[in-house]
């Protein structure tokens, strides 16, 4: 892709690579977050087993089972802030292209180059994190209700 003019990243930078890396980071934190529903399932299974055995048990909490599963998305958002800074600094790498960028008739142009991918990445991260939170929350209550139903039938 070298040499191809591609917006909205600083000219000469690889937008494909920035988007691919962002997608990979989101994929990785998504995989990490899958630990949460597994933990919820295991925790409620343990509760049912304890009830079956007649031993004492405490019901797991949503925050306890969710743990750090969604923290990775905050990490991606932080990474997007770093990417934005890197994009701005790239205009000073190897030349002072920032002089040209700053005297373009469209004052927002360089900000669009530098912030477009980071903003899209951060938004995607926030939306995915929110969607997974509600999904995992729903799964937590589904497991709870299922476990309570089993315990009630004992």
């Amino acid at each position: 892709m070298r040499g191809k003019l591609k917006l909205p990243v600083p000219p000469g930078r690889d937008s494909g690579m920035q988007l691919t890396n962002t997608a990979l980071a989101l994929g990785a934190v998504f995989l990490w977050s899958l630990g949460a529903p597994l933990d919820m399932h295991r925790s409620w299974q343990a509760v049912v087993r304890a009830a079956e055995l007649g031993t004492r048990y405490t019901e797991p909490t949503l925050s306890g089972t969710l743990g750090t599963a969604l923290y990775g998305f905050a990490g991606v958002a932080l990474g997007m802030a770093v990417l934005a800074i890197r994009n701005y600094l790239s205009l000073r790498e190897g030349s002072r292209a920032d002089y040209l960028a700053r005297r373009l008739p469209n004052r927002w142009e360089r900000h669009i180059w530098c912030l477009a991918v980071p903003i899209v990445g951060a938004l995607a991260s926030a939306i995915l994190a929110a969607a997974l939170y509600f999904l995992y929350r729903g799964y937590f209550f589904y497991c709870r209700d299922a476990a309570r139903a089993v315990i009630a039938s004992l």
Binding site: L5, P10, G94, S95, R96, A97, N106
Partner: protein
């Protein structure tokens, strides 16, 4: 008319420009001369709005804003191209951003200087990078072309070619403000010389007036700067005297 009125700029405690007033009229080719740190680069960057400053810079009476910034172009020895983009992509970029882009001129200049069109600008030789920088500034379609030591690193033949090309291609209304240390080389090419020292305008003269007085540009610069011709001989005498004393 590009006009700087009482422009002041400080870097911390150091005053880089101390109330500089200067006008550049359409069609003028103005040489800006001064020692390192005199304020030449700062003056140009203030004119372009790249630095904050006190005072006023106007273009035909209007402040320089995004509406008229395209009337100014800039070639700097620091280079303002995108190092990962080849010349051809720079053409596309400029064409997309500057409506008055001079495509014919660009083609002619890149062909004349045999500039590689598909090599990333950052991989060109320093001389070629300077050429690309200057060509882009000349082709942007600006009325006022600001050049800050654009030929630092180019060989003498290449520079000569550029001066000739300059004179051949510039439209009558295009103005150039060029800062350089190559005073003798640009003498036949500029119409006016402005001297700057310690952030103040030290001298401003038409080259034709110098010719009428039988003075050379280099002589004018030296006399304005208070250059003492015997300075080097004095220093060498002193140095050799010290060494003799040590023996």
């Amino acid at each position: 008319m590009l006009e700087l009125k009482d422009v002041k700029k400080s870097y911390g405690w150091k005053r880089a420009l101390d109330g500089v007033s200067l006008t550049v009229a359409p069609g003028e080719i103005v040489g800006l001369f001064g020692e390192n740190g005199a304020g030449k680069t700062t003056l140009m960057k203030c004119a372009l709005g790249l630095l904050g400053f006190g005072g006023k810079v106007t273009l035909d009476g209007e402040p320089v804003t995004r509406r008229n910034i395209a009337r100014l172009s800039f070639a700097t020895c620091e280079h303002s191209f995108f190092p990962n983009l080849p010349a051809e992509s720079h053409r596309d970029f400029y064409r997309a951003h500057f409506p008055k882009w001079r495509d014919k001129r660009y083609t002619a200049l890149t062909e004349f200087f045999d500039l590689p069109r598909h090599t990333a600008a950052g991989r060109l030789s320093t001389g070629q990078q300077n050429q690309l920088e200057v060509i882009l500034a000349l082709c942007q379609g600006a009325d006022y072309i600001l050049m800050d030591e654009p030929f630092a690193g180019n060989d003498v033949f290449n520079r000569e070619d550029f001066y000739k090309v300059f004179l051949g291609i510039l439209e009558p209304e295009e103005a150039v403000l060029i800062s350089t240390h190559l005073i003798a080389e640009v003498e036949n090419f500029i119409s006016r010389a402005v001297l700057i020292r310690g952030g103040k305008i030290l001298g401003d003269t038409r080259v034709s007036d110098l010719e009428d007085r039988g003075e050379t540009l280099l002589g004018y610069v030296k006399s304005s700067y208070g250059y003492r011709p015997g300075r080097v001989a004095d220093a060498l005498d002193r140095l050799s005297g010290e060494e003799d004393g040590q023996k």
